[in-house]
């Protein structure tokens, strides 16, 4: 009888209940909130559902040595986490993004590229704020990249510059990407007049298949020569786009834009979530990361919208750009473009800005990859 009681007592010590403390419960609540936002509110469900469930997986209280935790070498989660830690999931996601993205809007009106560049001020604004709050330069660079509104880029850069802060940075980046429809519209309204919001842009011209094929090749050569440290991201992005546009590698494009990106999204979301273990995540600096991350999105939106207003000063009547697409310079594709479209239609229901906003939106992907390459070159 005594043995049975002892066994049960020992078993109790192994359970999550015996090892639980309030930190784990807080993290599980955060995970559940993510699931609620993803499932019920349908805010970026593809990201928030895997990350939310990953947070719950990573915060089941357990004792060390079971070889199940994401940080225990050789565990299944640890093996899957290597894609995040070694940084090979983000380029694979970029391959899929490239294979899914139609750069026609950008090619037909290439000046929209400049909006994608302007919105990267969010990254460097956040970098300066992080330095002011006492983070070292590498950590500041990793936090700054949240402003690029690009989850894979944020994971890629933080895994190299500040691996210990990667969980908080990734969760912050993905959270704010999901919150783009909440964060951006007030800033867009604040920075624009009613007249500006009603600007109708010229319909994009038809883009020839040759231009579409040339874009990834020329785009890669140019950006990679300028920022070689961005090759993993830029190379995969443009390669993905080339297999889409070449017209002769349809199967490869279908795989990259379908099963491959889905698999990697599941793995990256789940393992990033699982990496946010309470002891690593619940720290004062995580709160700072979230605050600075929010600032970076705000700065990026301001920069994008104000840049369009500035740019319009030099454009002829009829060629002017609606400043409501300035927010789309951040690379949250296609959410930021959708926000431009929705806000635009609030003021003129027949003014569809979606395709125009996709130009700066995809330019933002290129811009944030170039900016990440710069930060890696300077700080890596």
């Amino acid at each position: 009888m005594n043995n049975i009681v002892e066994n049960l007592q020992q078993f109790w010590q192994y359970t999550g209940f015996a090892n639980c403390n309030f930190q784990y419960l807080i993290m599980i609540c955060i995970g559940l909130t993510f699931l609620y936002l993803g499932i019920k509110k349908e805010w970026e469900p593809m990201l928030l559902v895997p990350i939310g469930f990953g947070i719950i997986i990573g915060n089941i209280p357990l004792f060390a040595g079971l070889k199940v935790s994401v940080y225990e070498e050789g565990s299944v989660l640890n093996i899957l986490y290597q894609g995040v830690k070694q940084g090979f999931y983000p380029p694979l996601i970029f391959l899929g993004i490239g294979a899914m993205t139609d750069f026609s809007a950008l090619i037909s009106n290439p000046k929209l590229l400049l909006i994608g560049a302007a919105a990267q001020f969010g990254i460097f604004g956040a970098y300066a704020i992080s330095l002011a709050f006492g983070f070292d330069a590498a950590q500041a660079g990793a936090i700054g990249i949240i402003g690029g509104a690009d989850g894979p880029t944020a994971i890629f850069l933080s895994s190299r510059l500040a691996p210990d802060m990667m969980g908080a940075i990734a969760v912050s980046a993905y959270s704010y990407m999901a919150l783009v429809p909440v964060i951006q519209p007030p800033i867009m309204r604040l920075c624009t007049t009613k007249k500006e919001r009603l600007i109708r842009m010229k319909p994009p011209r038809a883009v020839s298949p040759t231009e579409k094929k040339l874009f990834p090749i020329v785009g890669f050569l140019l950006t990679a020569f300028i920022v070689p440290s961005g090759i993993p991201l830029l190379g995969m992005l443009f390669f993905g786009n080339l297999i889409k546009e070449s017209g002769v590698t349809k199967r490869l494009a279908n795989t990259a834009s379908g099963p491959l990106i889905d698999i990697v999204t599941i793995l990256i979301g789940l393992t990033v979530g699982a990496s946010t273990q309470a002891d690593q995540f619940l720290q004062l600096r995580s709160i700072w990361i979230f605050i600075i991350g929010a600032c970076s999105f705000v700065i990026a939106t301001f920069a994008g919208v104000l840049f369009v207003k500035f740019f319009n000063l030099f454009l002829k009547e009829g060629n002017k750009i609606n400043p409501l697409i300035g927010n789309a310079g951040v690379s949250a594709v296609p959410d930021a473009a959708r926000v431009s479209n929705n806000v635009g239609r609030e003021y003129d229901p027949s003014n569809y800005l979606m395709m125009h906003a996709m130009g700066p939106n995809v330019a933002g992907v290129i811009g944030s990859a170039v900016a990440a390459g710069m930060l890696l070159g300077f700080l890596g």
């Binding site: 037909s108 460097f124 992080s130 590498a138 231009e211 950006t223 300077f378």
Partner: protein, 314 residues
């Protein structure tokens, strides 16, 4: 045919792999040497002898097993580095130390010559002909006044190929199996923060680069777009000329308005309506049941193997 393709692929793969390996071995550098050793580093036998260091300047692991070391230009194969020793796989940007004690029986890293009499050190590939690195030993370091003073590259892997001159010098301290110049891992971010404490320099520099990259892309694609429109206009003008309808070439390609598209669509719709080219649909959707329950799982096509063929020799 398939066999040939596989063979070609295998040969190309092997060639590339060998090429890559050879290319990496080519980045091994003789890095530092010490001739008179009286109070410096000791080997595993407690002896102080001449030593020299080789540095892997590449960013991949390089196995130097099977390569040769020599002090004699007429005998490049004087000492063969044993293959199959895991220790001969040099990790990226790491060093390996060889004892020039003329005691090859002491292990893989003890060569069969001594630097006291050597004029040069020659490091050769496994073919015994291709020299990877070769340095001339400076006579002054045979003198007792230079005891325990090493000569080498001031920065690992960097410097002239002769073993003297640019990039070479007397090292402040001997550094067997370690960096000749101490590199501070955290130097980059720290240096960045010290020269740019508020992040403005970084912001201006990086934003300039981002803008330059995207402006260049903009300019290139603006020109490509223009050329494309021009070519399309030319084509449409030629086509119109061929059909004797010059008015068709008035609207430049790429600038077709939405109204034009709407007019074309309306005209087509009216034409189809008028010509009764499109019959009336019943609007009734039916589903026909079929008894054939085909499934690839039950298909014999996928189940049966190809009949085995016997090649009969005539």
């Amino acid at each position: 045919m398939m066999k040939n393709i596989k063979f070609i692929l295998a040969v190309v793969g092997l060639t590339l792999a060998l090429g890559a390996s050879a290319q990496s071995q080519g980045q091994m550098r003789l890095n530092e040497y010490l001739i008179i050793n009286t109070s410096d580093f000791q080997d595993d036998f407690g002896q102080q002898n001449s030593w020299f260091e080789i540095f892997n300047a590449s960013y991949g692991t390089v196995d130097i097993g099977g390569c040769y070391l020599s002090d004699d230009p007429n005998n490049l194969k004087k000492y063969a580095i044993p293959g199959g020793d895991v220790l001969t796989a040099i990790p990226p940007r790491q060093h390996v130390l060889f004892w020039a004690d003329n005691e090859p029986n002491h292990g893989t890293f003890h060569v069969n010559f001594d630097l006291k009499n050597a004029k040069e050190i020659i490091f050769t590939k496994g073919d015994g002909k291709s020299i990877i690195d070769r340095i001339v030993i400076k006579d002054i370091y045979r003198d007792s006044s230079k005891a325990n003073i090493s000569f080498g590259r001031l920065e690992d892997g960097i410097g002239s190929i002769t073993g003297d001159g640019e990039g070479w010098g007397e090292l402040a301290v001997t550094s067997p199996s370690t960096n000749n110049a101490i590199i501070d891992k955290a130097a980059k971010p720290e240096r960045m923060k010290s020269i740019d404490p508020y992040g403005w320099i970084m912001a201006v520099t990086a934003m300039s680069v981002v803008f330059v990259a995207l402006i260049l892309l903009y300019l290139i694609f603006k020109q490509i777009g223009k050329a494309n429109i021009k070519q399309a206009n030319k084509k449409s003008a030629n086509a119109a000329a061929r059909n004797n309808h010059p008015e068709a070439a008035v609207t430049p390609a790429g600038e077709v308005s939405a109204e034009t598209y709407a007019a074309i669509a309306t005209a087509l719709h009216l034409f189809i309506e008028d010509s009764e080219a499109h019959d009336e649909e019943s609007d009734v959707v039916t589903q026909r049941h079929t008894d054939r329950t085909y499934s690839p799982w039950s298909s014999k096509i996928y189940m049966l193997r190809q009949t085995p063929q016997v090649n009969k020799r005539n």
